[in-house]
Amino acid sequence: MSDHDYVPKSKFGKWFNDRLPLLTLGNHLTDYPTPKNLNYWWTFGGILSFCLIVQIITGLTLAMHYIAHADLAFESVEHIMRDVNYGWLIRYIHANGASMFFLAVYIHIFRSLFYGSYKSPREIIWIIGIIIYLLMMAAAFMGYVLPWGQMSFWGATVITNLFSAIPFIGEGIVQWLWGGYSVDNPTLTRFFTLHYLIPFLILGLVVLHIWALHVPGNNNPIGIDIKKPSKDTVPFHPYIVIKDGFALLMFTIVFAFFVFYSPNILGHADNYIEANPMVTPAHIVPEWYLLPFYAILRSVPDKLMGVVAMLSAILVLAALPWLDTSKIRSAIFRPLYKQFYWILVIDVLILGYVGAMPAEGLYLLIARVATAYYFIHFLIILPVLGSKEKTIPLPLSITEPVLEATLSSATIREKESLN
């Protein structure tokens, strides 16, 4: 990489850069050699950064008007919706922004699964990503508690109660989390504090995520190692910047439709009823993005084992770089893995669906089968597939398959002989 050779043009720039190499960093970021065959699934990294910034800015604004008190929280949210200038806009962006954030992160994760981006040498990027995802779930859950509606209250009660499954110390931990003997004002104030803190932890981890990415460079749809910089790469600016920008704009159009035309469709009506510890809602459901894990939790008859299963469903992802024994990254060259990949996608969608349904009868049976398959995919299919699968031969460089689309292989050979 040419980073170290970079010398600022101006005298002041050179003086400054010798003391704090910000300009070197800027140069690295603009010149960063990126595979030129990245498809639109790769634009979700940038989209996710946008989501995080939007959540932080709208969140800070909301925090200026919100009151974290059990008696006033619900009212203060209504105050934001009615009397704060554009308060409705800021709150709807923040509430729907959480859903958009998760939509983008799921696409980002499943892109990584398809193209094998988690494999060596990118394991650390992947694991940091899993930690970010865990923190996102914690932040989203605690954020959903803050309006202090019925789903806030009962969701918080159900989820915090999961800790009581821990033998011996479980009940103690739950009371410690609550700051009392039930979900109440102390719970709300600490959730608000943590909800405020977590996005900044995520921001720090995002920096590490990108830093770790910039060591080996991006994976690409072909999944082969490429020389950087070479004719297989383009500088990040302007090529990737404009492409990410275009994709981001498409994403914001979808985002805007939710915010302006169906801002409550992703939420639950019960959360517009103020929290009432004396009345349990008929049907306690988490937000849509947590439903697959909720389904896994409920599919196990034993409470402790249910919690263990739910946590394992996430932690198994952290072990993925070692569970997937295939040396080939991209599913394009793994015909069998490709099929199992799509079965997994359908499996997770089914889990999400049954997570929203009552856990009984056929729904429960489906949830159990889908949960079992989820673990079978990661713990059995992937390790076995690595040694058994007949893969398709890899191309030597990106240029070869990219050119194939437009030029015949004869012309490629011709070109190469000319070189």
Partner: protein, 249 residues
């Protein structure tokens, strides 16, 4: 606590009843409230619902604000002045009654939840400020419940003070049928049929729950149009930039 969690598991899938539908003027990309309907809806609320149902997040001034019923300032002042509120303490340390001002919140029918329950056979008439967003089905549900009173199917025995409603969750409701043809007399000459009143009051409740709905629709259209134009421009810029290299984008 395990009971709590498992209780939520055992919810029976409620039988779905198709809700009544009507043509709401506020749905769709350019949806706006029907001003007349909002004003009539306020009349239904204040003459029928308000004796039991509070609207604690609304102030009288909201009635004159843009995007709402848009009563004139004078009308709003007169509406507010027809209610008495407790203010104080004054310089003698005493609370006193005075006519309400537009800046006051809607006067509550009961002093507290306990009083409301005592007056209504143990059931608490829910606050109506955000009711239209607090029920799945939204305004359609409210409209349906208002028109859903009928005789219980034979064999159903209802407790005293419980009524049968086709659309109510669980079919039992502690509110007696609130609207009958001619329950109110509209000032604008509209015939006060059951359907008309149900539609008007449901519209009013939708506005109460979402007072900035019109501003939201208007801004949404502009924002999305802007984004689409920008996206197209960026698309062509991208094509131009990527044309420098041999690669598809």
């Amino acid at each position: 606590m395990i009971l709590l969690v498992s209780a939520s598991y055992q919810v029976k899938a409620a039988e779905k009843v198709e809700l009544l539908k009507t043509d709401w003027s506020f749905k769709g990309l350019f949806g706006k409230f029907d001003r007349g309907s909002l004003q009539r809806g306020y009349q239904v609320y204040t003459e029928v619902c308000a004796s039991c149902h509070s609207m604690k997040y609304l102030s009288y001034r909201n009635l004159s604000e843009k995007g709402g019923p848009e009563f004139s300032i004078e009308q709003t002042k007169a509406i507010a002045a027809s209610f008495e509120v407790t203010d104080g303490p004054n310089n003698d340390g005493e609370m006193f009654e005075r006519p309400a001002k537009p800046s006051d919140k809607f006067v509550m029918p009961y002093a507290n939840v306990k009083e409301a329950q005592a007056a209504n056979g143990g059931a608490y008439p829910p606050d109506m400020s955000v009711l239209a967003k607090a029920r799945s089905g939204g305004v359609d549900y409210i409209y349906s419940v208002l028109l859903g009173y009928e005789d219980p199917p034979s064999g159903t025995i209802l407790d005293d003070g419980v009524y049968y409603n086709k659309y109510m969750y669980g079919n039992n409701i502690k509110m007696s049928q609130p609207l009958y043809d001619g329950s109110v007399e509209y000032n604008d000459g509209t015939e006060a049929t059951e359907e008309q009143m149900a539609k008007d009051v449901a519209t009013f409740l939708m506005w109460a729950a979402e007072p900035h709905l019109e501003a939201r629709h208007k801004m949404g259209f502009k924002a999305i149009l802007y984004l689409i134009v920008l996206t197209i421009l960026v698309y062509f810029s991208m094509k131009k930039i990527w044309s420098r290299i041999e690669s598809e984008v």
